[in-house]
Subunit: 723 residues, 2 copies
């Protein structure tokens, strides 16, 4: 790829971004689109118009984003979002500080270097302008390499300092949120799993109650045994479905009264599959009948579920926060695989079906899934390698000679060269997250936030291994396949040697990602179109309309690994080709701005884990730093630099830094410190409300069935009366 | 070494043992020796004579040992002793089950083997009878080696089964002891370390009290701030010394009244160094005066210490066991390095000087000491290797030719060959434990039991590395030094190749250890002689006499690694030379008997850790098993056995087994399960007594100083009154 095709790509991307931004400015001012551009504000009951009438400036959203404080973010979008911004700020800080020193120092050193013989760095023989500004332009064994060694150390230490500060800051954010005087329901509960089999003559409920009552006689409030809700949920969903359909049918009927005849047309439906086959009946009557039929059925199933489908897991509620968070940290039974206790998650992020999975099953599932992920990572290596090898134009021409006349046209060639490999990569990466989320859920993890963290980790390792290492080596795949086959130990020097050649590929990749990616993100073109289509042709009731504009959440499982991939690319090239640093800065800077806007106005968090995502982000940033240091070691070795071992202390330092940080800070992210939990509450919460908030909707009954003592939810237990 | 010298050694050892045992039978029946042979019973207030008058049978102690139950051991000597017997039983079980299969199967297979050419196994060319029964006698690539493979698997699986059962059993023992209805004082307390600096306007005491009161408003009882007691302890010791001397002087005076003149001779002393120099004065008056002088000094220093020498550590007492054990497991502050909380140990095993050492200092000390231990292990390697190489007679003759005429005499040669290397080794090993205990204490560990565990671990790795590997390779050191220098990677096959040659050395070593070692242990000749000498010439007062027969404790720090070294030797040779198994069985069987006797009648435990030693024993037994498996891999490779890789799953299985066991059982050994702590008490203990039991004697004052609220022990805190 030469310099002009790179500029073309950059220019096109920038134009696309500008267009999308103006589109956003224009569209977001129309009241009909407010639900798409301000759903978070609307759902919070705030005025979406605020500040909008005041200005027609297309950059107003930038000013608003910059003016917002961390407290605003926490208010509007929760601690997890605030932590995500700490992540962005930290990475941005590292790159800015790196750029401030590296750009003015390294670029002149590289540019004024006498240069190397063409056969050494670029096998294609076409030496271009960008490459002149990179470390590849320095001849081997040159003393100028000392400057690059210093740069490697500088970036490492900047990363250590900023990460240390960030970890401390996030720790404080978490503490502040957890010690807030507004009681959070989940702070009063713990989740118990792996309850041993019920002893003779007791029900599960009695077993659980008597166990916890004897340990916490004063603070135990009430327990909720987890039940197998598969059947009751099915009936409940069916009932809710009919209720929605009934509402819809009634609205259609009412509308028909206004539009066609005064008595209206009663809507009809068919009794068979999806309302498409079977006997034609009056819809309202049919749904009404179905609802009347299902209500007692649900009630009966509810009772059966509560009484007979109790599982080996329960939620326990205490009357104070300290007991709950201390219980979650304590060993209850002598064996670790029974009565496992952990903090209760928020009710909305509980994955009920995973709760009864027992300890050994969870362990086994975990290892099996790690193995599947391992296979996935290494099987995808092959297709990605092939794609990136195929999509260099030279290779395309070699493999598909009939394309040659088309591809040789200058404009087509430029565009293809600029976009083709990157697009292939982006589309490819979009298919994976769902699969990883599915796998993580199958591990038996009890909470949604944890599942997302687990998937995010898998995705990160996948991206780094496949995209970064795969593409770097893959771009010279056909020429170097022989080397790899001969000696796999040569991968590290090979990686070092291949890096500079892939630099421009990644420059384009990063630019495409930030301009087009963030442009689409900000303008919300896709959700807008979908919303308007749904509104026009599908939605009849208020609930349906609300569903159509529901904004979703930030989606850490894919967003964080995506950012980390960019960071890996930018960091690893930062010293080799410092020109990449400004691109990284723009990516994270623009990301910060756009997502600040989205967090404040659009996305609604689907859970709150009080920053538990941070240690994972931290660990992966450090993985990136270590990978950067290893790459530099390899690259200096390729440059035959005599003093390369001077870099060896860096990865060791990184490991020590990770060890110290994790030891000092990590435990507070696993459990709540009692000092924090013991802060005074504004008012003692109504424990009954706390309890009810955990009851799944399919099981919450309006009638008080409190007298049935063997029921999974019941209040009174027979403890005293059983022998 | 030939067969006759081996039999000589064995015979001599056995005779020594018999002599010692009869000596024990004879001596232990004399009432004057009761305090040496039954101190534990006497200190427990039991009748030492019980069962003795009934029989004059020299084997009566064996019957008594066999008849005793685990409950007896726990009653007389605590859970730690019972756990030590579980360890002995388990190891004995492994060896017995191994012997039952290996002896009848492998010995005939080895003996009937056609045998190898002499130049292959024994470079000395003298082929002896014992070697014929070992695996060394099987020729290379022989299909007979399959039997040895099966034996390796058999021993591994026997070890897994018995260890699993033992871990479960010990876990139950620990649970039973901890849930005992008799409240133990330490169960109501926690130890807090790393308390942050005192905030402005508060005292340390107030800081601690207000912190824990806010977290545990209902169950907090009282706190005791740790003080720097160096000076007050010095005065206290001085005072106690004078009190003892006064008592002694008074007794001497009283005796002189009876023996010489009716008015008696007043004893005198000198005021200078150790009572040897300086002015001669009347002893009773002088001591009296000194005591009167020191009492107010002590009282003053006590007040200063309690008020002004408070350290960043404290003991906190709660009114119930569940809170204490749950607090010990919970994170209190957001940073792990402040307000570190752990279970309070028994007062008698607290190492006060280590308590105020802060988190980072402890971490640093730990790594520094690991490094020192590492150096120790590898520097001792050289002398031990030299000793064992020198002490083969052949080498002695080569190096010191003037010894030749002496050594060549048949009797001297036999005795020397039998004992010389082993004695050198045993004496050498006796010097180390004190040093390792000292090092472990310097790590900043807060309890005596933990220090002993840490020292025991260091000693184990030292023994195995130096004695076993060092001697095995060292015995062929001069011939193989060249090989090691050329290629260090060859150590494993070298180890395999050297093993059979060292087999007889170790047979003798084990035999010497059990016959002479346990003979001395049982007969207690040395303590008996020391006691009688002290009684006759030194002791005057009752206290001095009691001190003279104080039996000490079992001394796990050296005993356990010693046993484990024998186990390592026996296990590693078990398949190669199955003849060693009966020796191992006798060692552990005799050990069990002798120590059962000693635990029931002699030793008094100096602390109770409720079996926390077990996970360490377990881990080291498994290390031994893995070492055995690795040795077998190496040895089969030396035998050029084609199917050697069939043994590779064994070490992997061992690691998985260790992982599973530690995961399932270990946490309960770190902290008390709440289920256990919540068992009902016979009666609620008097909290004031609990508190006072932790006050060090130098600080406990008879007067109640409760009104001094800023004092480290005081009851009432100013919490309310400070802003």
């Amino acid at each position: 790829m030469d310099f002009s095709s790179f500029l073309t790509s950059l220019g096109t991307s920038f134009v696309i971004f500008l267009v999308l931004m103006f589109l956003f400015t224009w569209l977001s001012r129309r009241p009909g689109n407010f639900v798409v551009y301000y759903p978070n504000r609307i759902l919070k009951g705030l005025d979406p118009y605020e500040g909008i009438r005041l200005t027609r400036n297309p950059f107003a959203w930038i000013r608003e984003a910059l003016a917002s404080t961390e407290a605003d973010v926490i208010n509007m979008s929760g601690v997890d979002s605030a932590v995500y911004f700490v992540f962005l700020t930290t990475v941005l800080g590292i790159l800015v500080l790196a750029g401030l020193l590296l750009l003015p120092v390294l670029l002149p050193i590289a540019a004024t270097s006498p240069g190397v013989k063409a056969d050494n760095t670029t096998s294609e023989g076409s030496f271009n302008d960008i490459d002149k500004l990179s470390m590849g332009h320095i001849e081997v064994k040159s003393p100028r390499l000392w400057a690059f060694v210093a740069a490697t150390y500088w970036i490492s230490f900047v990363a250590y300092c900023l990460l240390w500060k960030a970890y401390k800051h996030v720790s404080n954010l978490r503490a502040a949120a957890l010690m807030s005087p507004d009681a959070k329901h989940e702070q009063f509960g713990v989740l118990v799993r792996d309850i041993p089999p019920v002893p003779e003559g007791q029900t599960r409920k009695e077993q659980v109650d008597s166990y916890f009552k004897s340990i916490y006689p004063d603070t135990f409030y009430r327990s909720m045994v987890v039940t197998d809700g598969k059947k009751v949920n099915k009936i409940y969903d069916e009932l809710e479905g009919y209720k929605k359909k009934l509402e819809r049918a009634e609205i259609i009927y009412a509308e028909s009264k206004q539009t066609s005849s005064p008595e209206g047309t009663r809507p009809t439906t068919k009794t068979g599959f999806l309302g498409l086959v079977g006997k034609k009946v009056d819809a309202i009557e049919y749904y009404d009948e179905k609802i009347k039929e299902l209500i007692p059925k649900l009630e009966a199933e509810r009772k059966v579920t509560l009484k007979e489908k109790q599982q080996c897991s329960a939620l326990i509620f205490f009357t104070d926060r300290v007991t709950a968070s201390s219980a979650a940290q304590s060993l209850h039974a002598t064996m670790v695989d029974t009565w496992t206790v952990m903090n209760a998650p928020e009710p909305r992020q509980l994955i009920w079906t995973n709760l009864p999975k027992n300890f050994h099953e969870r362990e086994m599932r975990q290892y099996v899934i790690y193995f599947i992920v391992f296979l996935t990572i290494f099987f995808y290596m092959i297709p990605i390698g092939l794609i990136s090898a195929l999509t260099t134009l030279e290779n395309l021409k070699k493999l598909l000679p009939f394309l040659k006349p088309v591809v040789d046209q200058k404009e087509i060639k430029t565009v293809l060269e600029a976009y083709l490999p990157q697009l292939a990569l982006i589309i490819f990466m979009a298919l994976l997250p769902k699969f990883l989320l599915f796998l993580s859920k199958k591990e038996g993890i009890p909470t949604q936030s944890h599942v997302e963290r687990a998937a995010s980790g898998k995705f990160f390792y996948f991206s780094v291994l496949n995209v970064f290492i795969g593409v770097t080596i893959g771009s010279t795949l056909f020429t170097t396949m022989k080397v790899i086959l001969k000696d796999t130990g040569k991968i590290v020097p090979l990686l070092g040697a291949s890096l500079p050649k892939s630099a421009t590929f990644f420059l384009t990749f990063v630019a495409l990602k930030f301009f087009v990616g963030y442009g689409l993100e900000l303008s919300r073109i896709v959700p807008l179109i979908i919303f308007h289509l749904k509104k026009k042709y599908l939605c009849k009731t208020e609930a349906e309309l609300k569903e159509a504009w529901a904004p979703g959440h930030l989606g850490y499982a894919t967003r964080v690994p995506g950012d980390l991939l960019i960071l890996t690319i930018v960091l690893c090239y930062s010293v080799i080709a410092p020109l990449i640093i400004p691109f990284g800065v723009v990516y994270f800077g623009l990301g910060w701005l756009v997502l600040r806007n989205q967090a404040l106005k659009v996305y609604v968090p689907s859970y709150e884990s009080y920053g538990r995502m941070w240690p994972h982000m931290y660990k992966r940033i450090m993985t990136t730093v270590i990978l950067f240091q290893a790459t530099m070691l390899g690259y200096f070795a390729v440059k035959q630099f005599y003093y390369t071992p001077i870099l060896i202390p860096l990865p060791i330092l990184s490991f020590i830094f990770v060890f110290i940080c994790q030891k000092k800070f990590y435990r507070f992210f696993q459990s709540t410190a009692l000092e924090v939990a013991s802060r005074e509450l504004k008012e003692k919460p109504n424990m009954e409300v706390v309890f009810q908030s955990f009851v799944p909707p399919s099981l919450s009954s309006e009638k008080g069935d409190e007298d049935q003592y063997e029921d999974a939810l019941s209040h009174v237990s027979r403890t005293g009366s059983t022998v």
